[in-house]
Symmetry: C2
Subunit: 279 residues, 2 copies
Protein backbone atom coordinates (compact mmCIF):
# COMPACT_ATOMS: atom_id res chain seq x y z
CA UNK A 1 0.00 0.00 0.00
CA UNK A 2 2.83 2.46 0.82
CA UNK A 3 4.14 2.75 -2.77
CA UNK A 4 0.55 3.28 -3.94
CA UNK A 5 0.43 6.53 -1.95
CA UNK A 6 3.68 7.75 -3.51
CA UNK A 7 2.37 6.97 -6.98
CA UNK A 8 -1.07 8.48 -6.37
CA UNK A 9 0.30 11.70 -4.88
CA UNK A 10 2.75 11.77 -7.79
CA UNK A 11 -0.19 11.59 -10.19
CA UNK A 12 -2.10 14.30 -8.32
CA UNK A 13 0.80 16.77 -8.52
CA UNK A 14 1.66 15.55 -12.04
CA UNK A 15 5.26 14.41 -11.68
CA UNK A 16 6.64 11.83 -14.13
CA UNK A 17 5.28 8.36 -13.34
CA UNK A 18 8.82 7.03 -13.12
CA UNK A 19 9.65 9.42 -10.28
CA UNK A 20 6.58 8.45 -8.26
CA UNK A 21 7.52 4.81 -8.74
CA UNK A 22 11.10 5.46 -7.62
CA UNK A 23 9.90 7.21 -4.46
CA UNK A 24 7.54 4.31 -3.75
CA UNK A 25 10.21 1.70 -4.47
CA UNK A 26 12.80 3.40 -2.26
CA UNK A 27 10.48 3.70 0.72
CA UNK A 28 9.06 0.19 0.29
CA UNK A 29 12.60 -1.23 0.18
CA UNK A 30 13.55 0.77 3.28
CA UNK A 31 10.46 -0.56 5.04
CA UNK A 32 11.17 -4.12 3.95
CA UNK A 33 14.81 -3.93 4.98
CA UNK A 34 13.66 -3.14 8.51
CA UNK A 35 11.10 -5.97 8.38
CA UNK A 36 13.83 -8.38 7.32
CA UNK A 37 16.05 -7.24 10.18
CA UNK A 38 13.06 -7.48 12.53
CA UNK A 39 12.91 -11.12 11.43
CA UNK A 40 16.36 -11.69 12.88
CA UNK A 41 15.19 -10.05 16.07
CA UNK A 42 11.80 -11.77 16.16
CA UNK A 43 13.25 -15.14 15.21
CA UNK A 44 15.58 -14.68 18.12
CA UNK A 45 12.56 -14.08 20.31
CA UNK A 46 10.67 -17.00 18.97
CA UNK A 47 13.61 -19.24 19.76
CA UNK A 48 12.56 -19.17 23.39
CA UNK A 49 9.51 -21.18 22.36
CA UNK A 50 10.64 -22.94 19.19
CA UNK A 51 14.25 -23.97 19.19
CA UNK A 52 14.27 -25.12 15.56
CA UNK A 53 14.03 -21.54 14.23
CA UNK A 54 16.78 -18.99 13.65
CA UNK A 55 19.59 -21.24 12.41
CA UNK A 56 23.01 -19.66 11.96
CA UNK A 57 22.86 -19.47 8.17
CA UNK A 58 19.43 -17.90 8.23
CA UNK A 59 20.68 -15.10 10.46
CA UNK A 60 23.63 -14.38 8.21
CA UNK A 61 21.56 -14.23 5.06
CA UNK A 62 18.79 -12.28 6.77
CA UNK A 63 21.12 -9.54 7.96
CA UNK A 64 22.83 -9.24 4.57
CA UNK A 65 19.56 -9.42 2.66
CA UNK A 66 18.23 -6.51 4.71
CA UNK A 67 21.46 -4.56 4.15
CA UNK A 68 21.23 -5.24 0.43
CA UNK A 69 17.68 -3.86 0.32
CA UNK A 70 18.78 -0.77 2.26
CA UNK A 71 21.67 -0.22 -0.17
CA UNK A 72 19.37 -0.77 -3.16
CA UNK A 73 16.88 1.73 -1.73
CA UNK A 74 19.63 4.36 -1.61
CA UNK A 75 20.75 3.52 -5.15
CA UNK A 76 17.21 4.05 -6.45
CA UNK A 77 16.78 7.22 -4.38
CA UNK A 78 19.85 8.93 -5.85
CA UNK A 79 18.35 8.47 -9.33
CA UNK A 80 15.77 11.08 -8.34
CA UNK A 81 18.64 13.60 -8.26
CA UNK A 82 16.94 15.72 -5.62
CA UNK A 83 18.88 16.63 -2.50
CA UNK A 84 15.83 17.58 -0.44
CA UNK A 85 14.20 14.22 -1.25
CA UNK A 86 17.42 12.37 -0.33
CA UNK A 87 17.72 14.31 2.89
CA UNK A 88 14.23 13.24 3.91
CA UNK A 89 14.81 9.62 2.90
CA UNK A 90 17.93 9.57 5.07
CA UNK A 91 15.85 10.92 7.95
CA UNK A 92 13.18 8.26 7.38
CA UNK A 93 15.83 5.54 7.53
CA UNK A 94 17.07 6.89 10.85
CA UNK A 95 13.53 7.18 12.19
CA UNK A 96 12.78 3.53 11.36
CA UNK A 97 15.82 2.31 13.27
CA UNK A 98 15.17 4.67 16.19
CA UNK A 99 11.59 3.36 16.40
CA UNK A 100 12.78 -0.23 16.43
CA UNK A 101 15.35 0.57 19.12
CA UNK A 102 12.69 2.32 21.21
CA UNK A 103 10.37 -0.67 20.80
CA UNK A 104 13.09 -3.07 21.87
CA UNK A 105 14.10 -0.93 24.82
CA UNK A 106 10.48 -0.83 26.01
CA UNK A 107 9.47 -4.43 25.31
CA UNK A 108 8.02 -6.10 28.43
CA UNK A 109 8.32 -2.86 30.44
CA UNK A 110 5.56 -2.74 33.02
CA UNK A 111 3.40 -0.73 33.14
CA UNK A 112 3.51 0.01 29.38
CA UNK A 113 3.07 3.70 28.52
CA UNK A 114 0.66 5.13 25.96
CA UNK A 115 3.03 7.94 24.99
CA UNK A 116 5.74 5.38 24.19
CA UNK A 117 3.23 3.43 22.03
CA UNK A 118 2.43 6.56 20.03
CA UNK A 119 6.09 7.55 19.74
CA UNK A 120 6.95 4.10 18.32
CA UNK A 121 4.04 4.24 15.84
CA UNK A 122 5.18 7.68 14.78
CA UNK A 123 8.81 6.68 14.23
CA UNK A 124 8.12 3.31 12.60
CA UNK A 125 4.95 3.91 10.58
CA UNK A 126 3.78 7.53 10.43
CA UNK A 127 7.13 8.96 9.29
CA UNK A 128 7.25 6.41 6.46
CA UNK A 129 3.67 7.04 5.31
CA UNK A 130 4.28 10.77 5.57
CA UNK A 131 7.30 10.47 3.27
CA UNK A 132 5.32 8.40 0.74
CA UNK A 133 2.68 11.10 0.53
CA UNK A 134 4.92 14.18 0.66
CA UNK A 135 8.06 13.37 -1.36
CA UNK A 136 6.18 13.60 -4.69
CA UNK A 137 5.25 17.17 -3.72
CA UNK A 138 8.89 18.04 -3.13
CA UNK A 139 9.74 16.70 -6.59
CA UNK A 140 6.84 18.75 -8.02
CA UNK A 141 7.97 21.81 -6.02
CA UNK A 142 4.46 22.16 -4.61
CA UNK A 143 5.50 23.74 -1.30
CA UNK A 144 1.99 25.16 -0.95
CA UNK A 145 0.49 21.68 -0.45
CA UNK A 146 3.54 20.04 1.17
CA UNK A 147 2.54 20.45 4.85
CA UNK A 148 -0.93 19.04 4.05
CA UNK A 149 0.50 15.97 2.33
CA UNK A 150 2.86 15.42 5.27
CA UNK A 151 -0.01 15.69 7.74
CA UNK A 152 -2.18 13.37 5.61
CA UNK A 153 0.53 10.70 5.54
CA UNK A 154 1.22 10.98 9.24
CA UNK A 155 -2.44 10.60 10.25
CA UNK A 156 -2.89 7.77 7.74
CA UNK A 157 0.13 5.92 9.15
CA UNK A 158 -1.07 6.24 12.74
CA UNK A 159 -4.60 5.13 11.79
CA UNK A 160 -3.31 2.23 9.72
CA UNK A 161 -1.11 0.97 12.59
CA UNK A 162 -3.87 1.27 15.18
CA UNK A 163 -6.28 -0.72 12.97
CA UNK A 164 -3.54 -3.29 12.38
CA UNK A 165 -2.96 -3.52 16.13
CA UNK A 166 -6.69 -3.93 16.79
CA UNK A 167 -6.83 -6.82 14.32
CA UNK A 168 -4.42 -8.76 16.55
CA UNK A 169 -7.36 -9.20 18.94
CA UNK A 170 -9.97 -10.12 16.30
CA UNK A 171 -10.90 -13.63 15.19
CA UNK A 172 -8.51 -14.74 12.44
CA UNK A 173 -10.33 -17.00 10.00
CA UNK A 174 -7.09 -18.64 8.87
CA UNK A 175 -6.45 -19.70 12.45
CA UNK A 176 -9.77 -21.53 13.09
CA UNK A 177 -11.43 -18.32 14.15
CA UNK A 178 -8.99 -17.62 16.96
CA UNK A 179 -7.32 -14.22 17.31
CA UNK A 180 -3.57 -14.11 16.59
CA UNK A 181 -2.55 -12.34 19.82
CA UNK A 182 1.09 -12.04 18.84
CA UNK A 183 1.84 -8.54 20.12
CA UNK A 184 1.51 -9.05 23.87
CA UNK A 185 3.85 -12.09 24.10
CA UNK A 186 6.40 -10.02 22.15
CA UNK A 187 6.25 -7.44 24.93
CA UNK A 188 4.11 -4.93 23.05
CA UNK A 189 0.97 -3.48 24.62
CA UNK A 190 -1.11 -1.82 21.89
CA UNK A 191 -3.84 0.82 22.09
CA UNK A 192 -6.88 -1.33 23.14
CA UNK A 193 -4.88 -2.81 26.02
CA UNK A 194 -3.46 0.59 26.99
CA UNK A 195 -6.95 2.11 27.04
CA UNK A 196 -8.20 -0.71 29.28
CA UNK A 197 -5.24 -0.28 31.65
CA UNK A 198 -5.76 3.50 31.69
CA UNK A 199 -9.34 2.76 32.77
CA UNK A 200 -8.04 0.56 35.62
CA UNK A 201 -9.34 -2.74 34.25
CA UNK A 202 -7.79 -4.88 36.99
CA UNK A 203 -8.01 -8.14 35.03
CA UNK A 204 -6.28 -6.67 31.99
CA UNK A 205 -3.57 -5.17 34.21
CA UNK A 206 -3.01 -8.60 35.84
CA UNK A 207 -2.88 -10.45 32.50
CA UNK A 208 -0.39 -7.97 30.99
CA UNK A 209 1.75 -8.21 34.11
CA UNK A 210 1.80 -12.03 33.98
CA UNK A 211 2.71 -12.08 30.27
CA UNK A 212 5.38 -9.39 30.63
CA UNK A 213 6.87 -10.83 33.85
CA UNK A 214 7.36 -14.13 32.03
CA UNK A 215 8.86 -12.31 28.99
CA UNK A 216 6.04 -13.68 26.87
CA UNK A 217 6.64 -17.32 27.85
CA UNK A 218 3.39 -17.60 29.79
CA UNK A 219 0.12 -16.57 28.14
CA UNK A 220 -2.53 -19.05 29.23
CA UNK A 221 -5.60 -19.91 27.14
CA UNK A 222 -7.98 -18.61 29.79
CA UNK A 223 -6.08 -15.30 29.97
CA UNK A 224 -6.24 -14.99 26.19
CA UNK A 225 -9.97 -15.59 26.16
CA UNK A 226 -10.59 -13.25 29.08
CA UNK A 227 -8.46 -10.45 27.59
CA UNK A 228 -10.20 -10.56 24.20
CA UNK A 229 -13.56 -10.73 25.94
CA UNK A 230 -12.94 -7.64 28.07
CA UNK A 231 -11.47 -5.61 25.18
CA UNK A 232 -14.49 -6.45 23.05
CA UNK A 233 -17.34 -6.37 25.55
CA UNK A 234 -16.18 -3.27 27.38
CA UNK A 235 -15.60 -1.36 24.13
CA UNK A 236 -11.83 -0.84 24.26
CA UNK A 237 -11.34 -2.27 20.76
CA UNK A 238 -14.16 -0.05 19.54
CA UNK A 239 -12.63 2.97 21.25
CA UNK A 240 -9.19 2.37 19.68
CA UNK A 241 -10.81 1.81 16.30
CA UNK A 242 -12.86 5.00 16.63
CA UNK A 243 -9.65 6.90 17.29
CA UNK A 244 -8.24 5.59 13.99
CA UNK A 245 -11.51 6.33 12.24
CA UNK A 246 -11.40 9.94 13.43
CA UNK A 247 -7.90 10.37 12.02
CA UNK A 248 -9.06 8.99 8.69
CA UNK A 249 -12.07 11.35 8.61
CA UNK A 250 -9.77 14.29 9.26
CA UNK A 251 -7.62 12.99 6.42
CA UNK A 252 -10.51 12.98 4.00
CA UNK A 253 -11.03 16.64 4.83
CA UNK A 254 -7.35 17.36 4.15
CA UNK A 255 -7.83 15.88 0.65
CA UNK A 256 -10.45 18.59 -0.06
CA UNK A 257 -7.50 20.93 -0.54
CA UNK A 258 -6.25 18.88 -3.48
CA UNK A 259 -7.70 19.27 -6.97
CA UNK A 260 -10.22 16.52 -7.69
CA UNK A 261 -9.16 13.70 -10.00
CA UNK A 262 -9.56 9.94 -10.30
CA UNK A 263 -6.35 9.64 -8.25
CA UNK A 264 -7.73 11.72 -5.41
CA UNK A 265 -10.85 9.53 -5.54
CA UNK A 266 -8.66 6.43 -5.29
CA UNK A 267 -6.98 7.88 -2.20
CA UNK A 268 -10.41 8.45 -0.64
CA UNK A 269 -11.35 4.84 -1.41
CA UNK A 270 -8.17 3.55 0.26
CA UNK A 271 -9.00 5.65 3.32
CA UNK A 272 -12.46 4.07 3.38
CA UNK A 273 -10.96 0.61 2.95
CA UNK A 274 -8.67 0.98 5.98
CA UNK A 275 -11.60 1.65 8.30
CA UNK A 276 -14.10 -0.61 6.51
CA UNK A 277 -14.32 -3.06 9.42
CA UNK A 278 -16.67 -3.84 12.26
CA UNK A 279 -15.35 -3.49 15.79
Amino acid sequence: MRPAFAILFGKIVKIEDEKGIKIGATLELLHNSTLVHDDVIDNADMRRGQKTHNSIWDNTLTVLYGDYMFATAMNIAVELKNIEVLKRIALVSKSLVTGELLQNANAFNFPPKKEVYFEIIKLKTAVLFSACCSLPLIVAERNDLLPLAEKFGEKLGIAFQIVDDCLDFKADLKKLGKPKLIDLPEGKATLPVLLAMENNEEEVIDIVKRVFDSKGEVFEAKDKKRLVNILEKKGYLKKAFSFAKKLISENMEILDNFEDSEHRQTLLKICDFIIDREF
Copy 2:
Protein backbone atom coordinates in the same frame (compact mmCIF):
# COMPACT_ATOMS: atom_id res chain seq x y z
CA MET B 1 42.96 5.28 8.32
CA ARG B 2 40.16 5.52 5.74
CA PRO B 3 38.88 8.96 6.86
CA ALA B 4 42.48 10.20 6.84
CA PHE B 5 42.62 9.62 3.08
CA ALA B 6 39.39 11.56 2.53
CA ILE B 7 40.70 14.45 4.61
CA LEU B 8 44.17 14.44 2.99
CA PHE B 9 42.81 14.32 -0.57
CA GLY B 10 40.36 17.04 0.46
CA LYS B 11 43.32 19.18 1.60
CA ILE B 12 45.24 18.48 -1.62
CA VAL B 13 42.36 19.65 -3.84
CA LYS B 14 41.52 22.44 -1.36
CA ILE B 15 37.90 21.69 -0.48
CA GLU B 16 36.52 22.97 2.84
CA ASP B 17 37.85 20.87 5.75
CA GLU B 18 34.29 20.19 6.87
CA LYS B 19 33.48 18.49 3.58
CA GLY B 20 36.52 16.23 3.70
CA ILE B 21 35.56 15.29 7.25
CA LYS B 22 31.97 14.53 6.20
CA ILE B 23 33.17 12.28 3.37
CA GLY B 24 35.49 10.48 5.77
CA ALA B 25 32.82 10.16 8.46
CA THR B 26 30.24 8.81 6.01
CA LEU B 27 32.53 6.15 4.60
CA GLU B 28 33.93 5.18 8.01
CA LEU B 29 30.37 4.76 9.34
CA LEU B 30 29.42 2.68 6.29
CA HIS B 31 32.48 0.52 6.84
CA ASN B 32 31.75 0.15 10.55
CA SER B 33 28.10 -0.70 9.96
CA THR B 34 29.24 -3.67 7.86
CA LEU B 35 31.78 -4.66 10.54
CA VAL B 36 29.04 -4.59 13.16
CA HIS B 37 26.80 -6.77 11.00
CA ASP B 38 29.76 -9.06 10.30
CA ASP B 39 29.89 -9.49 14.07
CA VAL B 40 26.40 -10.99 14.03
CA ILE B 41 27.55 -13.31 11.28
CA ASP B 42 30.90 -14.12 12.83
CA ASN B 43 29.42 -14.56 16.30
CA ALA B 44 27.01 -16.99 14.74
CA ASP B 45 29.98 -18.85 13.31
CA MET B 46 31.87 -18.86 16.54
CA ARG B 47 28.89 -20.35 18.30
CA ARG B 48 29.85 -23.71 16.88
CA GLY B 49 32.88 -23.59 19.15
CA GLN B 50 31.77 -21.33 21.99
CA LYS B 51 28.16 -21.62 22.99
CA THR B 52 28.25 -18.68 25.41
CA HIS B 53 28.57 -16.14 22.60
CA ASN B 54 25.86 -14.59 20.45
CA SER B 55 23.06 -14.29 22.98
CA ILE B 56 19.65 -13.22 21.67
CA TRP B 57 19.82 -9.67 22.95
CA ASP B 58 23.29 -9.13 21.55
CA ASN B 59 22.07 -10.07 18.08
CA THR B 60 19.15 -7.66 18.27
CA LEU B 61 21.24 -4.72 19.38
CA THR B 62 24.03 -5.56 16.95
CA VAL B 63 21.71 -5.58 13.94
CA LEU B 64 20.02 -2.32 14.96
CA TYR B 65 23.32 -0.66 15.88
CA GLY B 66 24.65 -1.44 12.40
CA ASP B 67 21.45 -0.12 10.82
CA TYR B 68 21.70 3.04 12.89
CA MET B 69 25.26 3.64 11.68
CA PHE B 70 24.18 3.06 8.07
CA ALA B 71 21.31 5.55 8.49
CA THR B 72 23.63 8.05 10.18
CA ALA B 73 26.13 7.69 7.32
CA MET B 74 23.39 8.62 4.84
CA ASN B 75 22.29 11.57 6.98
CA ILE B 76 25.84 12.95 7.01
CA ALA B 77 26.29 12.26 3.29
CA VAL B 78 23.23 14.30 2.26
CA GLU B 79 24.74 17.33 4.04
CA LEU B 80 27.35 17.39 1.25
CA LYS B 81 24.49 18.33 -1.11
CA ASN B 82 26.20 16.69 -4.08
CA ILE B 83 24.23 14.17 -6.14
CA GLU B 84 27.30 12.62 -7.78
CA VAL B 85 28.90 12.06 -4.36
CA LEU B 86 25.68 10.53 -3.02
CA LYS B 87 25.37 8.29 -6.06
CA ARG B 88 28.85 6.92 -5.46
CA ILE B 89 28.24 6.47 -1.73
CA ALA B 90 25.10 4.46 -2.53
CA LEU B 91 27.19 2.31 -4.90
CA VAL B 92 29.82 1.79 -2.19
CA SER B 93 27.15 0.62 0.24
CA LYS B 94 25.90 -1.92 -2.31
CA SER B 95 29.44 -3.06 -3.07
CA LEU B 96 30.17 -3.70 0.62
CA VAL B 97 27.10 -5.92 0.99
CA THR B 98 27.76 -7.70 -2.31
CA GLY B 99 31.33 -8.43 -1.17
CA GLU B 100 30.11 -9.84 2.13
CA LEU B 101 27.53 -12.00 0.33
CA LEU B 102 30.20 -13.26 -2.07
CA GLN B 103 32.48 -14.05 0.85
CA ASN B 104 29.74 -15.96 2.65
CA ALA B 105 28.73 -17.85 -0.49
CA ASN B 106 32.34 -18.93 -1.03
CA ALA B 107 33.32 -19.68 2.57
CA PHE B 108 34.75 -23.22 2.92
CA ASN B 109 34.48 -23.80 -0.86
CA PHE B 110 37.25 -26.15 -1.94
CA PRO B 111 39.41 -25.49 -3.84
CA PRO B 112 39.31 -21.77 -3.06
CA LYS B 113 39.79 -19.54 -6.11
CA LYS B 114 42.23 -16.64 -6.43
CA GLU B 115 39.88 -14.64 -8.68
CA VAL B 116 37.15 -14.87 -6.00
CA TYR B 117 39.65 -13.68 -3.36
CA PHE B 118 40.50 -10.62 -5.47
CA GLU B 119 36.85 -9.94 -6.28
CA ILE B 120 35.95 -9.95 -2.56
CA ILE B 121 38.89 -7.64 -1.73
CA LYS B 122 37.79 -5.32 -4.50
CA LEU B 123 34.15 -5.18 -3.36
CA LYS B 124 34.82 -4.98 0.39
CA THR B 125 38.00 -2.91 0.62
CA ALA B 126 39.20 -1.38 -2.66
CA VAL B 127 35.87 0.26 -3.55
CA LEU B 128 35.75 1.87 -0.10
CA PHE B 129 39.35 3.15 -0.22
CA SER B 130 38.76 4.37 -3.76
CA ALA B 131 35.74 6.40 -2.62
CA CYS B 132 37.72 7.90 0.28
CA CYS B 133 40.39 9.13 -2.12
CA SER B 134 38.18 10.22 -5.01
CA LEU B 135 35.04 11.79 -3.50
CA PRO B 136 36.94 14.94 -2.42
CA LEU B 137 37.90 15.40 -6.09
CA ILE B 138 34.25 15.24 -7.13
CA VAL B 139 33.42 17.91 -4.56
CA ALA B 140 36.34 20.00 -5.89
CA GLU B 141 35.22 19.33 -9.49
CA ARG B 142 38.73 18.15 -10.34
CA ASN B 143 37.69 15.71 -13.08
CA ASP B 144 41.22 15.89 -14.51
CA LEU B 145 42.67 14.09 -11.48
CA LEU B 146 39.60 11.99 -10.60
CA PRO B 147 40.58 8.75 -12.40
CA LEU B 148 44.03 8.92 -10.78
CA ALA B 149 42.60 9.33 -7.28
CA GLU B 150 40.22 6.42 -7.92
CA LYS B 151 43.08 4.24 -9.11
CA PHE B 152 45.23 5.29 -6.15
CA GLY B 153 42.51 4.33 -3.66
CA GLU B 154 41.80 1.03 -5.36
CA LYS B 155 45.45 -0.07 -5.38
CA LEU B 156 45.89 1.14 -1.81
CA GLY B 157 42.85 -0.85 -0.67
CA ILE B 158 44.03 -4.04 -2.32
CA ALA B 159 47.55 -3.63 -0.92
CA PHE B 160 46.25 -2.83 2.55
CA GLN B 161 44.03 -5.93 2.59
CA ILE B 162 46.79 -8.23 1.33
CA VAL B 163 49.18 -6.99 4.02
CA ASP B 164 46.42 -7.42 6.60
CA ASP B 165 45.82 -10.97 5.37
CA CYS B 166 49.54 -11.77 5.51
CA LEU B 167 49.67 -10.61 9.13
CA ASP B 168 47.24 -13.41 10.03
CA PHE B 169 50.17 -15.80 9.55
CA LYS B 170 52.76 -13.73 11.41
CA ALA B 171 53.65 -14.04 15.09
CA ASP B 172 51.25 -11.93 17.14
CA LEU B 173 53.07 -10.53 20.17
CA LYS B 174 49.82 -10.10 22.11
CA LYS B 175 49.17 -13.81 21.73
CA LEU B 176 52.46 -15.10 23.20
CA GLY B 177 54.15 -14.87 19.83
CA LYS B 178 51.71 -17.19 18.09
CA PRO B 179 50.08 -16.21 14.80
CA LYS B 180 46.33 -15.50 14.96
CA LEU B 181 45.34 -17.80 12.08
CA ILE B 182 41.69 -16.74 12.15
CA ASP B 183 40.96 -16.56 8.41
CA LEU B 184 41.28 -20.23 7.46
CA PRO B 185 38.91 -21.59 10.15
CA GLU B 186 36.38 -18.97 8.97
CA GLY B 187 36.54 -20.55 5.51
CA LYS B 188 38.71 -17.85 3.94
CA ALA B 189 41.87 -18.75 2.01
CA THR B 190 43.98 -15.61 1.57
CA LEU B 191 46.72 -14.78 -0.92
CA PRO B 192 49.73 -16.60 0.67
CA VAL B 193 47.70 -19.82 0.90
CA LEU B 194 46.29 -19.38 -2.62
CA LEU B 195 49.80 -18.88 -4.03
CA ALA B 196 51.02 -22.04 -2.30
CA MET B 197 48.07 -24.04 -3.63
CA GLU B 198 48.60 -22.62 -7.10
CA ASN B 199 52.16 -23.92 -6.86
CA ASN B 200 50.84 -27.40 -5.92
CA GLU B 201 52.13 -27.42 -2.34
CA GLU B 202 50.55 -30.77 -1.45
CA GLU B 203 50.76 -30.23 2.32
CA VAL B 204 49.06 -26.83 2.15
CA ILE B 205 46.35 -28.28 -0.10
CA ASP B 206 45.75 -31.10 2.42
CA ILE B 207 45.63 -28.74 5.41
CA VAL B 208 43.16 -26.36 3.71
CA LYS B 209 41.00 -29.34 2.69
CA ARG B 210 40.93 -30.68 6.26
CA VAL B 211 40.02 -27.29 7.75
CA PHE B 212 37.36 -26.54 5.10
CA ASP B 213 35.84 -30.05 5.18
CA SER B 214 35.33 -29.66 8.93
CA LYS B 215 33.87 -26.16 8.41
CA GLY B 216 36.67 -24.76 10.52
CA GLU B 217 36.04 -27.06 13.49
CA VAL B 218 39.30 -28.98 13.00
CA PHE B 219 42.59 -27.08 12.74
CA GLU B 220 45.19 -29.05 14.60
CA ALA B 221 48.26 -27.48 16.23
CA LYS B 222 50.64 -29.46 14.01
CA ASP B 223 48.78 -28.31 10.88
CA LYS B 224 48.96 -24.71 12.08
CA LYS B 225 52.68 -24.95 12.68
CA ARG B 226 53.32 -26.73 9.39
CA LEU B 227 51.21 -24.26 7.37
CA VAL B 228 52.97 -21.18 8.78
CA ASN B 229 56.32 -22.89 8.29
CA ILE B 230 55.72 -23.65 4.60
CA LEU B 231 54.27 -20.21 3.84
CA GLU B 232 57.31 -18.57 5.44
CA LYS B 233 60.13 -20.87 4.42
CA LYS B 234 59.00 -21.34 0.83
CA GLY B 235 58.45 -17.60 0.32
CA TYR B 236 54.67 -17.49 -0.20
CA LEU B 237 54.20 -14.82 2.46
CA LYS B 238 57.04 -12.86 0.90
CA LYS B 239 55.52 -13.23 -2.56
CA ALA B 240 52.08 -12.01 -1.42
CA PHE B 241 53.71 -9.12 0.42
CA SER B 242 55.78 -8.20 -2.65
CA PHE B 243 52.59 -8.04 -4.66
CA ALA B 244 51.19 -5.50 -2.18
CA LYS B 245 54.49 -3.63 -2.17
CA LYS B 246 54.41 -3.34 -5.96
CA LEU B 247 50.91 -1.83 -5.82
CA ILE B 248 52.07 0.70 -3.26
CA SER B 249 55.10 1.67 -5.40
CA GLU B 250 52.82 2.21 -8.37
CA ASN B 251 50.66 4.35 -6.07
CA MET B 252 53.57 6.53 -5.11
CA GLU B 253 54.12 7.19 -8.81
CA ILE B 254 50.46 8.14 -9.21
CA LEU B 255 50.94 10.78 -6.52
CA ASP B 256 53.58 12.46 -8.72
CA ASN B 257 50.65 13.83 -10.70
CA PHE B 258 49.39 15.76 -7.69
CA GLU B 259 50.87 19.10 -6.70
CA ASP B 260 53.37 18.70 -3.87
CA SER B 261 52.30 19.76 -0.38
CA GLU B 262 52.67 18.59 3.21
CA HIS B 263 49.45 16.60 2.67
CA ARG B 264 50.85 14.77 -0.34
CA GLN B 265 53.94 14.01 1.75
CA THR B 266 51.73 12.60 4.51
CA LEU B 267 50.04 10.32 1.94
CA LEU B 268 53.47 9.08 0.85
CA LYS B 269 54.38 8.39 4.48
CA ILE B 270 51.18 6.38 5.02
CA CYS B 271 52.00 4.35 1.89
CA ASP B 272 55.46 3.64 3.33
CA PHE B 273 53.95 2.72 6.69
CA ILE B 274 51.63 0.09 5.17
CA ILE B 275 54.54 -1.83 3.67
CA ASP B 276 57.00 -1.07 6.44
CA ARG B 277 57.21 -4.69 7.58
CA GLU B 278 59.55 -7.63 7.26
CA PHE B 279 58.23 -10.74 5.54
